[in-house]
Point group: C2
Chain length 358, copies 2
């Protein structure tokens, strides 16, 4: 029996990936030029499929990067002239703030402790080019309620609201008119091998990038918002991309359309419900996030304290791999991914085993 | 019968890649965390294998990036304070110059026409931080003779000599003491799927990066020479990398060690010899590079003029895919990759078919 990976990303591959990789090799996808018509067709299909899956409005475009980290840096370079604001409640929301700071841009921060949410009443007269907010904090398992997230745009109608959905897309169902740009990594809920970032950009975000680009003698790195968008319009990339990754993305998103996004979302909610129900009643361990409205469906963090290592070993003995606590929580917590690739049966088995852990 | 890809990159996969991908999926390599011991072991094996294959001196370190394009930009940011010099004789050597220029660094250029070599007597009193030179111009099929390449360090002992070996490593046998830093893309002569850059950095190059880093209030992007080197020392990467790509790299380089680098190099020379011999005697088409000492072994460019489309179709009908001419040469030339994955038998068949083309 193969191991099942409930790690928070890289995680288990979507169950059709192996088939698509075989086909990619057989049909030569791994050998085609990224300047070929065949590649453009793959890119086009990836965009069409994602727009269908997410019911993305027409004012959004999609580009690929090598990682979400790269997206943070391109936002810092191309979307922030004056200042940004960052809602921070964990390691990854903090990393975006740090990336902006390290690239010599000014950034404010509204921060909460881990497991909680920052104060979304940002009462300030400050004018921000961009507000960074994390929908799903992969380090803590806190999910930002959508009404709070949307309130940022109400409070700051002139700012770009940039949403980190690295570990929640495509499970989360955004109202894309209430945010401006969203990004994800494919090795999480999309169930793909690591090495590709996906970035959705609306017309307002594009307009800001173009305005700043024209105003300044800015650095023009090969990957920037403008070059990525201009190339994507031709279904191309500025430099040689992870072609296999883009192909697998197009195919898996197509498979998710066929399965039905509502079915996928319902399954994730069911799996998260049985896990949290069990954890709330467990004798030894408990969910890290206390406030139920903040509990992430896709990243479930368990306070396992001194029993962390025992629990990990116990599950590993049953061929179930879960993730470590992040950073300072290493050795005190475990993190469990609840992604579309994890079947209800696998999750029921995992819940049952954890329930019996003593 | 599957197509054989003689395209200049992405090209045919090394013949063991399919096997290694299957093993990667089966054993969970595509699902492991990039912060795990298992990943560190893969990175360590990749470095050890590459050092063995290339007989790399101890004063060199290896890091991974997402592409060679990214390496150009990191060199511009981290290795150039004053000015760089670029030996340019085609599209890719020009792209490095342009990348430096676009990142607001000063850069000089010594340029030749396509198919030729720039004047390597750089007689100048200018002090350059870095000199960029392309060992193998993928756009034109010109190979820089090693004595010319090494002369740069003799003329500019204080500068970093940065060698683009994107389409010649690991076939080329460098004297690494006569250059300072070398980089390659894996989708060319290594025979791997696109989406990974490999960068070799000697101690002098590292020292320059550290000096410039300390002197300035420079931008600190997540991927920079220092962060890449510091993470690599722990067999880690600053952000989530293309883990599957790094695994495949480690395995294929291991396979190349077992096959023997001398055998691989001899085979490439044999294949290039039979191709150029045939082309020199062909009635209709001819090699683009006239000067025999400049003819690349790994990228063979054919002047096919008005018959280009006919020749491509003729080969494609025999399931042999060759590359287009690059940029302005599209439709006038074809480019043929002669990489380690291309067997002598496949190449003999290709040569035979082109010989019969009329």
């Amino acid at each position: 029996m193969r191991k099942v990976y409930f790690t928070p990303g890289p995680s288990g591959l979507y169950f059709t990936v192996e088939h698509h990789i075989k086909h990619a090799i057989k049909s030569g996808v791994t050998s085609i030029s990224h300047r070929s018509k065949q590649f453009e067709e793959i890119f086009r299909e990836a965009e069409t499929n994602l727009k269908t899956l997410l019911q993305l409005p027409d004012n959004y475009k999609m580009v690929f990067t090598s990682s979400a980290t790269e997206i943070w840096e391109k936002m810092a370079d191309n979307l922030i002239s004056n200042k940004s604001l960052h809602m921070v409640n964990g390691a990854f929301s903090k990393k975006f703030f740090t990336a902006v700071h390290n690239l010599n841009k000014e950034a404010d921060i509204i921060e909460s402790s881990w497991g909680d949410l920052p104060d979304f009443n940002t009462s300030t007269s400050e004018s921000y080019d961009l507000i960074g907010v994390t929908h799903n904090e992969t380090s803590t398992g806190v999910r930002t309620p959508l009404d709070k997230l949307y309130s940022l745009k109400e409070q700051h109608p002139d700012s770009i609201v940039a949403v980190d959905a690295v570990s929640s897309l495509p499970v989360v169902d955004f109202d894309y008119s209430k945010i401006d740009t969203v990004y994800a990594s494919v090795q999480k809920a999309f169930g793909l091998p690591a090495g590709l970032g996906v970035w959705l950009i609306n017309d307002k975000t594009e307009a800001l990038a173009r305005k700043l680009y024209e105003q300044s003698n800015a650095r023009q790195s090969s990957h920037n918002v403008i070059s990525l968008l201009d190339q994507a319009q031709k279904y191309q990339t500025p430099s040689t991309p992870n072609i296999l990754g883009i192909y697998l993305f197009s195919q898996v998103v197509g498979d998710m359309i066929n399965r039905g996004i509502q079915q996928i979302r319902n399954d994730v909610i069911y799996k998260s419900a049985i896990m949290y129900n069990m954890l709330d009643q467990h004798d030894i361990i408990k969910p890290f996030v206390q406030e139920k409205t903040l509990r992430s469906d896709t990243i479930i963090v368990i306070d396992s304290g001194e029993r962390t290592s025992d629990l990990k070993t116990y599950l590993s003995d049953h061929k179930l791999e879960v993730g470590n606590g992040y950073g300072k929580m290493m050795g005190k917590q475990i993190r469990i991914a609840n992604f579309p690739t994890h079947s209800k049966e696998q999750f029921e088995m995992l819940v049952d085993l954890i329930n019996k852990f003593e």
